[in-house]
Symmetry: C2
Subunit: 385 residues, 2 copies
């Protein structure tokens, strides 16, 4: 068999690397919020642990903006450990010895689920910007179809951080009868003006790169790597706290004794950012970055329900455990708290955990014993009840 054309592999994800996949054919289109449908479409996912006979121990983990389905196992593209091995695995807070964990690449992503880099069957070329705009609700709709495909009528829980938390909240709104509890971590029920602004800077950086070619870079065998790296660098600053940056890097110089009086990186923080930018472009697709950031910008759960967040979750909402970190300025505690307040107002069963941490938004990915305890305690109590 001949090698696939280069544009079939915009990011280095090969068929064997996607984990498991399910493709929904023309009989099961994905109806999108924009009014269009996506068909056929594929969802790439991973599972960990064993589904019990009652099919009552399934936990769906939702990934953040640049995450993927490899939550608890080596990422085949980067060769690095899964992105949440701190939290998911045997004996971990989301214990795969007890729970059946599912994690799917979002629609619009670039790790095997259908996204802008996928081939549009109508043209036999990559979608590029002809891919329809997707929303968090669309992502969750695709996950709903996956969960149904796996024969699971009711999930024990949906858990996710950042954009993953948006999906968890959307699950509670879209399918309150199909999930017993949701756990949004370091998240929000709407994207703030400041966050939209940062996303727009990233998108403009990508689109300003002439190698973006109006989104058709795959057809030209080029890649807007410089623009994507700038987008990543800007975003990365928002994932950390000022305190963490100061502690980690301060004004320390990189491999030198004195200022160089040149534009090459003098400071460790600069080298660190460059590294973040470089390594990101090797694993992520620029158009996926555009689509997924846009989906986050569009997210506003209250607006979908007459401006009343409490009304989003129906008469019988699932249980909620909302976790937030004090130094997270991207999804600040106040945003998380306002979700808890809205839920209290409709007498939902909600726990709110504010964790003191100086690690910023990224805290949810890091070693945070208080978070581990909250996640573990909540899930185990739920499963035992």
């Amino acid at each position: 068999m001949s090698e696939a054309p280069e544009f079939l592999r915009p990011v280095k994800v090969h068929a064997a690397d996607k984990g498991q996949t399910v493709t929904f054919g023309p009989d099961k289109p994905l109806k999108l919020d924009c009014g269009k449908s996506l068909s056929p479409f594929t969802v790439a996912y991973m599972t960990y642990g064993t589904l019990n006979a009652a099919k009552s121990n399934a936990v769906l983990v939702c990934h953040a903006l640049t995450g993927d389905q490899f939550v608890a196992s080596e990422n085949p593209v980067t060769g690095k450990p899964g992105w949440w091995t701190t939290t998911v695995g045997p004996g971990k807070p989301i214990d795969t010895d007890r729970f059946f964990v599912i994690c799917a690449n979002v629609i619009g992503g670039c790790m095997g689920s259908t996204g802008p880099a996928s081939i549009d069957p109508a043209t036999a070329k990559p979608y590029g910007l002809s891919f329809p705009l997707i929303t968090i609700r669309d992502m969750v709709r695709a996950q709903g179809m996956l969960v149904e495909h796996l024969g699971i009528a009711k999930l024990l829980a949906v858990v996710g951080g950042s954009m993953g938390g948006m999906q968890a909240l959307q699950w509670a709104a879209a399918y309150p009868e199909r999930v017993r509890a949701v756990m949004p971590i370091a998240s929000a029920a709407r994207h703030s003006a400041q966050n939209i602004a940062f996303h727009e800077v990233g998108r403009q950086a990508i689109m300003a790169d002439p190698d973006w070619r109006g989104g058709e870079y795959q057809l030209h065998n080029v890649s807007p790597s410089k623009g994507l790296a700038v987008a990543r660098m800007a975003a990365h600053i928002t994932y950390l706290s000022e305190t963490a940056l100061q502690r980690k890097f301060g004004r320390s110089l990189q491999d030198r004794e004195a200022l160089s009086f040149q534009f090459a990186p003098d400071f460790q923080i600069e080298s660190y950012l460059h590294h973040q930018g470089r390594s990101f472009v090797d694993r992520f697709d620029a158009n996926s970055y555009l689509y997924i950031t846009r989906a986050m910008d569009y997210f506003d759960l209250a607006a979908d329900h007459d401006g009343k967040l409490g009304h989003a979750f129906g008469a019988h909402p699932p249980r909620f455990c909302i976790i937030s970190f004090t130094s997270d300025w991207l999804f600040p505690p106040a945003e998380n708290k306002s979700v808890a307040h809205a839920l209290n107002a409709v007498a939902a069963n909600v726990s709110f955990v504010e964790i003191k941490s100086d690690k910023g938004h990224d805290a949810f990915l890091l070693d945070e014993p208080e978070m581990f305890q909250a996640v573990k305690g909540f899930l185990n109590a739920l499963a035992d009840s």
Copy 2:
């Protein structure tokens, strides 16, 4: 006389638009921290009000990163009012009926003072990246020569916000005997890791633009406008507070009733950022942006004095009035306070004013009555004493 070649006018500043200028010849080179000298070099400046007979009423106002000498009069490039007409002018807190106000474009700038867009006499071409790296100290050294040229032995005060505040602090350190008081506003004695990070993102955005051409864009009659606009957009977010963005824009849509499901700006905050980016590239030189941000990154007054900020100002420091805004996350109150503490430790005469405001870093440019009162009160008391 024939039209000057295009590269002589990288930004639309014509000779007549620079205000006043003084050019220091080969006998008066500007000795730079990097070890090189700049010669000849020009300082473009504006003055407002009248120098009294005792020459004791001169106030030097220092501008921020993208500011210029047009502090209190129409900017000839943009046609807009001066950048600090809230604070400087007849009857204003820095009252030009009483004080003789001087404001100079910094070395490295692009409004008439020698900078990377200036012609290198050695090559008869724009300096571009062959322009030496400059520091805040170098900027202040050039200002010191200007003030001497104006025949002023001792300034009443040096006042500035943001990078202007860095210059004010540097004045106190470099020439404590030539200034009676300094007033750094929304500033810091060193640039933080987070601020260096944001600057590096901006620089990378500029350098990623192929029209930057290794800094030689003037020779090619092009301009890295897209990269510079991205840099400006990212920076602009840091000038505002999350609260101000939420109040001003929230999630309001721009000229539409519903989400467009396209990448064009849906949200007002996006249109606003685009506008900021577009208007900036019309008035600012990309290489100047690189040089001036680097100068800010390099600023660390304590490091220049064995790590002890208190030691920076000599045995007879001038008086200090330090002003800070609660919602400024670029130069947070804690940074400003630490300067005050260091000064207290060496028994300097220091006032510290923390102003409650939700307008972020930009507050110092806006209508802030408490700041007006502090500036006016401090300056008048100083002049009366």
